[in-house]
């Protein structure tokens, strides 16, 4: 399948604010605009990839992602995932996926107790099997920015070990010459993104849709998203 044949949906909650950015990024790569699906919808047309974008869904009231995880559309997203459909959650989308239980663990407040927006260096972890990583090289480093207040990944030691053993850690923060610590938020084992056990669901804090060209500071987000789309189209 060509990339323009891919069916991509971006879920829009009230308070989502990276929905347009993701739509523009996917259109830039695939040549076709993804559909935007409103949170009050109860069905999702068949898609090859459902993306839950960043932002502050429902104002992040109660707890980041907690309300969005119970929105009408999420039943359909869970059904899509249960059928083996690909789902990608970025930032608030990652928080929402954790709240649905599609991914294990929690994201707590940054270790610095402050919102942080800056570039990070993200390394592709070895030993994964997923459409999000198969087109990337293990050890490959990408400059992709983060922007969040609750990106500090936490899970029990047993769960963390299980993630390691199952090849579910997709991306880690790594040393670079960017000013500040490599890990921007205190995440356990420098985790920047994790996969479901079947590799079809990805949650990550960095925003690839913001790193789409050298003019924006990095084109590595385009590399990452393009690899995902290519894998799903193959």
């Amino acid at each position: 399948m060509s990339l323009s044949g891919l069916r991509v949906a971006v879920i829009v909650f009230p308070g989502s604010n990276c929905d347009r950015d993701m739509m523009v990024a996917i259109e830039q790569l695939a040549g076709r605009r993804p559909s935007l699906v409103w949170h009050k919808e109860t069905t999702l047309d068949p898609v090859d990839l459902a993306i839950i974008p960043g932002g502050f869904s429902y104002g992040d009231y109660l707890r980041c992602g907690a309300l969005a995880a119970r929105a009408p559309i999420m039943e359909a997203v869970l059904d899509h995932a249960a059928r083996g459909g690909a789902v990608m959650g970025i930032c608030n989308g990652f928080q929402i996926l954790l709240e649905t239980g599609l991914l294990p663990g929690v994201l707590v407040e940054n270790a610095g107790l402050k919102y942080v927006c800056r570039d990070t260096s993200v390394e592709v972890v070895e030993g994964t099997a997923s459409p999000f990583t198969e087109g990337l090289s293990p050890g490959q480093r990408m400059i992709i920015p983060v922007a969040h207040n609750e990106g500090n990944y936490f899970a029990s030691d047993d769960d963390l070990q299980r993630l390691e053993d199952n090849g579910q850690i997709a991306f880690r923060y790594t040393e670079s010459d960017i000013i500040g610590p490599a890990n921007p938020n205190g995440a356990a084992r420098n985790i920047a993104g994790i996969l479901s056990t079947n590799g079809r669901v990805l949650g990550m804090m960095p925003h690839p849709e913001r790193a789409m060209s050298p003019a924006l500071g990095s084109a590595d987000g385009a590399t990452m998203l393009n690899a995902t789309l290519q894998a799903l189209a193959a």
Binding site: G15, G59, K114, Y115
Partner: protein
């Protein structure tokens, strides 16, 4: 149900004591009695007091604001609307404004700052523009003052809390410290939006009989009489006014923004006004009076968050995230569906009338019935007396001396809060959402791509209060010139400005002189640089217990660049580049140290004149730098400002992690040369220094080849005087984090 008897039924008559408690003078009270031919009730008095407050009426500043240039071929909408609008080509308009939230931010820093951002964003999207960038200008007290850490931390997280959530990137700003702000911080927020030039919405009500619609969040008792509070001096008791600070909800703000922009894309809205300062009062009065009409509203229909709110409270509440609109009658259903989709209140609460009066109904009776003309046209305008501004002596550059070398002084200077990196601040702002940020905070100017094009919108906020204090006229001009330089240094051409005039009590002649003279200076510079003033805000009475702040007339400039790929940053990327100073000739071996950071550090800032601003030179130097960048001759550029040439060089080395070797002049005072703050200068890193020198000579622009970038990781002044780039980076990166972690902090 219209009733225009002129005599509301259900409220007790007010007296002068009540009026005085709301900040009105005896003369103003007498004027109300004369215009109404009776005493007002509480609600009516509250409306007069709010509309005639300094905040809403500009009564002390209006006379001087009228002297500012507001026209130009690029101007679509000058001052007077919710925000100013300029033509940026391709059928697009940049719509922008800056506004202060100083008093609320001192009382409740998080909410004060957050609602400042929310308010300025509403001003921009009310005009039909999608906001694309935020900036700010912040002033705090001494770094070691007991409240500074708490206030800085709260303000920064409040600015981020609103901007990050609503999803508009913060691309620039400034943060500075001075003890004069210990009891009165400044929080000025600026927003820029983009709209189609032929789809700009205004606030004048039209069409008698047309429905007046309230949309957005419900009204509560927060912020009642905030506009009046912002028009009075602070005292020790002011902090007990915390309950009057508005509370922001960026989530509702986001929904309101999306709903309004969706509605504006349809052909439904005739007039729209944000409920900002003085809430429902100023929005209804301004809409009706601009349309030359009247308005009638039933306050029982206003969506209220609290029980039993009185007419006075409903009219004076400053609850956030609310708008008032006049719709085409046939469009009401379409509009309601859009607001239902976004789960926002949508309530027809009245209609436009032909009466020229504001009539408010409540509990079955008339709560207010007053003519609109006096509220707006009779608003007082004062020509307050000004003291003479004493002319300060020019500080001889050899009058402050030190045996220390340039690098030793630079080391000392870079370690101050004045020059510490603002990374701790701006990393708390989402500077990249919307995925069009080409240059975020930390550079000379912020730059966002105009979505879907390769053109860019640049912006900077600037003011140097110590210059304004030393010479208000020069300081006002300098603020405009520095903003112009900051834009030029990335390759952008300034188009227009918005200003935020922060001063003390204008009833004091020396403060009045600061304001009037700096506005005149600002006007001169805006004329010379073709950057008219299209919007602005005035914040007076910035005093605590009778002591005024350092005057701070902030300029926010917006400009464009035709090709974002040509824009440059200020970091030196690699060795082998020539360094050229534009605006300084070879013979210049001296420098202007009066009111400089150097003078403050070594001699406790003796009274002296600030560096003069040559507006013709500013214009020519700026245009020259812009053209060199557009032609691809420039690798990096930086304007020379606080701390002079040596500090600018240090900042370029740090930003690009590359060293430089500099040739110092053989004669004159080397410290004046290194740290003088002469205006109109830039440092350029270029491939071909001689070509740039020749181009400058051809245009009669002074320029000096001062050195080259090197790969030793050092900044060298004349060979032996050396400081490593790594050490400089460590110095600037540790100051603010150490301050905020409490290291070296004296708890009060």
């Amino acid at each position: 149900m219209t009733q225009t008897s002129g005599k509301p039924m259900n409220d007790a008559e007010m007296n002068f004591e009540m009026a005085a408690s709301m900040g009105l003078s005896r003369a103003e009270w007498d004027l109300i009695l004369d215009r109404l031919q009776r005493a007002p009730n509480l609600c009516e008095l509250g409306i007069f007091s709010a509309m005639w407050s300094e905040h809403c009426s500009y009564k002390s500043s209006k006379r001087w604001l009228k002297t500012l240039p507001v026209d130009g071929p690029q101007v679509i909408e000058g001052p007077g609307e919710n925000a100013g609008a300029v033509d940026i080509g391709d059928g697009l308009a940049a719509i922008f404004k800056i506004e202060s939230h100083n008093h609320p931010s001192f009382i409740e820093p998080y909410q004060g700052a957050a609602t400042g951002v929310g308010g300025i964003l509403r001003d921009v999207f009310t005009m039909g523009a999608r906001p694309v960038a935020l900036l700010n200008a912040l002033r705090f007290g001494a770094p070691d003052h007991e409240k500074t850490r708490h206030l800085l931390s709260g303000v920064v997280s409040g600015i981020g809390g609103y901007g990050n959530c609503i999803g508009i990137p913060t691309i620039g700003g400034e943060v500075n410290f001075d003890p004069s702000y210990n009891g009165n911080i400044l929080v000025n927020a600026m927003a820029i939006g983009l709209a189609n030039s032929d789809r700009i919405f205004r606030s004048a009500a039209t069409g008698p009989g047309n429905p007046v619609i309230y949309v957005g969040a419900k009204t509560g008792r927060d912020g009642i009489h905030g506009a009046t509070m912002a028009s009075a001096e602070f005292s020790d008791e002011t902090e007990s006014k915390r309950p009057t600070v508005q509370v922001g909800d960026p989530f509702t703000g986001k929904l309101l923004m999306e709903a309004c922009l969706e509605l504006m894309a349809s052909d439904s809205v005739l007039a729209i006004q944000d409920m900002g300062a003085a809430g429902l009062t100023s929005s209804s009065v301004e809409m009706a009076s601009k349309g030359g009409l009247g308005m009638e509203m039933d306050l029982d229909l206003v969506p209220a968050r609290e029980e039993a709110m009185s007419a006075y409270e409903l009219m004076l509440s400053e609850s956030q995230e609310r708008m008032l609109m006049v719709l085409k009658p046939e469009a009401t259903d379409t509009a309601r569906q859009i607001f239902d989709k976004w789960d926002l209140d949508f309530m027809p609460i009245g209609k436009v009338t032909e009466t020229g009066r504001l009539v408010l109904l409540k509990d079955g009776g008339v709560a207010c019935d007053i003519p609109l003309d006096p509220l707006v046209d009779d608003a007082p305008e004062y020509d307050r007396p000004q003291a003479d501004v004493p002319s300060r002596p020019i500080l001889a550059s050899d009058s402050i001396t030190s045996d220390a070398g340039i690098s030793a002084l630079l080391r000392q200077m870079l370690a101050t809060a004045d020059l510490g990196s603002r990374r701790w601040v701006y990393e708390q702002y989402d500077s990249q959402v919307m995925a069009d940020t080409i240059a975020g905070p930390g550079g000379d100017a912020g730059l966002v791509r105009i979505h879907g094009t390769n053109r860019g919108l640049a912006a900077s906020t600037d003011c140097t209060p110590r210059y304004v204090e030393a010479d208000p006229h020069t300081g006002g001009a300098q603020a405009v010139a520095e903003a112009w330089r900051n834009l030029s240094a990335i390759g952008a051409r300034g188009l227009a400005i918005t200003n935020n005039l922060n001063f003390g009590n204008p009833e004091k002649p020396d403060i009045m002189a600061q304001m009037a003279q700096s506005v005149l200076g600002m006007g001169d510079a805006a004329r010379a640089l073709d950057t008219p003033v299209v919007s602005g805000n005035v914040s007076l009475y910035n005093e605590t217990d009778g002591k005024a702040i350092l005057p701070c007339p902030v300029v926010g400039m917006v400009g464009t660049i035709d090709d974002i790929d040509k824009a440059v940053g200020n970091g030196l990327p690699h060795a082998g580049l020539s360094l050229v100073v534009i605006g300084q000739d070879q013979a210049c071996d001296d420098g202007w140290l009066g009111v400089s950071l150097y003078a403050r550090m070594l001699a406790d800032a003796p009274d002296a004149a600030p560096p003069p601003v040559d507006l013709d030179a500013e214009r020519r130097h700026g245009l020259f730098v812009q053209s060199l960048i557009a032609d691809g001759h420039v690798i990096a550029a930086h304007d020379i400002s606080d701390g002079g040439l040596a500090v600018a060089l240090a900042e370029m080395c740090i930003a690009g992690r590359t060293g430089a070797s500099i040739t110092c002049p053989a004669t004159g005072n080397p410290h004046g040369w290194a740290f003088g703050e002469d205006q109109g200068r830039y440092i350029l890193a270029v491939q071909d220094g001689n070509a740039v020198m020749a181009a400058a000579a051809a245009q009669g622009i002074p320029a000096t080849l001062i050195g080259e970038t090197i790969d030793t990781g050092e900044l060298q002044f004349g060979g032996g005087d050396v400081i490593s780039v790594e050490e400089m980076e460590h110095l600037v990166e540790t100051t603010i984090p150490a301050l905020m972690s409490g290291a070296g902090h004296t708890e009060g």
